[in-house]
């Protein structure tokens, strides 16, 4: 029986899972849409991982969760470790690219830069409250231009003369885009301009003041857009790596972290249990905390969201 570890990265848009062995090799992996329901997404993910999983040969002894729903899913799966996505992404990437110095990441709602020196993270930055230039911005612009966001990158590559589009703010970028289209600029030039503005916006906001050293890797959903990758390369004048498994790095990282935790016995049966979450508003003080309660087969297993003891919900 070989020991292996499960890592799950539950993002706002997609849920990723990997099962690795003790040498950090990915044995199984999968990737599905979260569709606004993280519990259901994880159940579907586990079912699909279980289909190929060799139960005679392997036993899962560690589970890690990361991503924005890490706490919820971590509680349900009784995970050995729950870790933030920045640390998880860095550790996953470093395990595959030990020399990496800079990780650029643009996801559905957020973007971040992670600087690595000698295999440890030394600095990072995340976008602030504003989601300008992230994946959701690109997909809404694609809709406006009536093209599939998947074709975005390839169309951008056909342009020889990218249009200048204001990159500072989504609202301005959008009005700029409409204006340019009405002036008669070609579609591919506008699309290439958009890709460039995403890269420029990222470097001016998230990457502001950071020393971007090679080797550089580009991750997150937007990294699948070759137009943005090329825009980064031309702006930085450096080569940018895009790994085809880039989306799995967070799940991989948290699976690696689970190796150092106390061993547990993970059972796929969990997918048959009935988990529900109920939000309640505490009315014991003017704060009106929104408390989320997690129930397994109608029995309360955990609750959080309260700012003080008064709102603590107990069994």
């Amino acid at each position: 029986m070989q020991k292996c570890y499960l890592g799950i990265d539950i993002g706002s848009i997609s849920t990723k899972g990997v099962i690795i062995n003790q040498n950090n090799d990915i044995l199984y992996s999968d990737y599905i849409w979260t569709e606004g329901n993280p519990i259901d997404a994880v159940k579907r993910l586990l079912k699909s991982l279980e289909k190929n999983f060799d139960k005679e040969k392997y036993q899962i002894v560690g589970v890690g969760t990361t991503g924005s729903a890490r706490k919820l899913i971590g509680t349900i799966l009784n995970a050995s470790i729950i870790k933030n996505e920045i640390t998880a992404h860095a550790i996953g990437t470093i395990s595959k690219y030990p020399d990496i110095k800079t990780i650029l990441e643009i996801g559905g709602q957020d973007s971040k830069i992670i600087l690595v020196e000698d295999k440890i993270v030394t600095d990072y930055a995340m976008n602030t409250l504003c989601a300008a230039g992230t994946g959701s911005f690109l997909s809404s612009q694609a809709k406006r231009l009536n093209i599939d966001v998947k074709d975005f990158g390839n169309i951008a590559l056909t342009s020889t003369n990218p249009t200048k589009i204001a990159a500072r703010c989504t609202v301005f970028a959008e009005s700029d885009l409409v204006h340019k289209a009405q002036m008669g600029y070609k579609k591919e030039d506008i699309i290439a301009g958009l890709c460039k503005s995403v890269a420029l916006n990222y470097l001016n906001n998230v990457g502001k003041g950071k020393k971007i050293k090679s080797p550089i890797i580009f991750q997150g959903g937007v990294s699948k857009n070759i137009g943005v990758k090329k825009a980064f390369e031309s702006l930085l004048k450096k080569e940018v790596i895009v790994d085809e498994n880039g989306h799995l790095m967070g799940a991989l990282g948290v699976a690696i972290l689970a190796q150092n935790e106390k061993e547990i016995n993970f059972d796929f049966n969990i997918t048959n249990l009935n988990f529900t979450t109920i939000g309640v508003e505490c009315d014991k003080c003017p704060n009106h905390c929104e408390i989320i309660t997690i129930r397994k087969d109608n029995k309360l297993i955990d609750a959080w969201g309260n700012r003080c003891e008064r709102g603590a919900i107990k069994n």
């Binding site: 924005s68 933030n84 920045i86 440890i120 993270v121 990072y124 409250l129 003041g209 003080c285 704060n287």
Partner: protein
Amino acid sequence: MELIVGIPRALLFYKYKDLWLQFFANLNIKTVISPKTNKEIIDKGSSYVVDEACLSLKIFMGHVDHLQNKCDYLFIPRVACLNKNEKMCTNFLVLYDLVKNTFEDCKILMYNVDVENNEYEFDGFLKIGKTLGFSYFKTLRAYQNAKKYEKEKRRQKYLLETRKLRSPHLKILVVAHSYNLYDDFVGKPILEYLESQRIAAICSDITTGDEKVNTSISHSIYWTYNKELMKIIEDTLNHIDGIILISTFPCGPDSLCNELIIRKIKSKPILYLTCDNNASDTGIITRLESFIDILKYKKERSTNDQQYN
């Protein structure tokens, strides 16, 4: 009938509470302080000021609202200038007018400090004494006594915070104006989280507050409170593992000064958090968690290196 003075638990209250409360106590004046910031106070405060005002000012107005009909006088300080050639954030200049024009029926206890126009701290208290009907000498004694009390409190606070610099755990300097640092909706949850992670969080409000400070981080910055914060960074830099800057959206002085700090301080990792009333805790916790991870890995690495050498 006994006179009651209401003091909003916001803005400069956190910096001068020892001085103010002791002064009123020495004169046997009853004070009532608004409760800790809660959601209702923030929502109420936001409804009184323009959207562009900073969160801290919105919180202040919520506290003022809470004190309506609960006191005879509202204590609304106007602190325009503390040192010659230095400035304060305009919020501290306009509080009196803002409150007066928002709550028309309220009676305000006027307290004005404007050193550039020769109105010193004592002059401010003298005016309060006069309004409330106390003699010059009685006010002077109450002020001197309160000043002594404040000095002792500050000394204790300084010792408490600097002791943390010798902690064996990770040491993070948390830099923020005291009204943000100790507010129950802005800085408090961050300090509590750091404590739960066994981090020695050194609070930045440990200057004497009365002497003019100079900082090598910038010679041209003229905001008194921001200069004090920069000075603390400079003084503790060699004893800490990292810095967290907390600011409320959209603070003018902080947005310039924190940018400056980030550009000038290269030897320690810095995390810059901007708080707004709609931001949920999760975004803040994710950033704090990963920041602590970085510091932990760095520290482990450097202790390992030392062992090998």
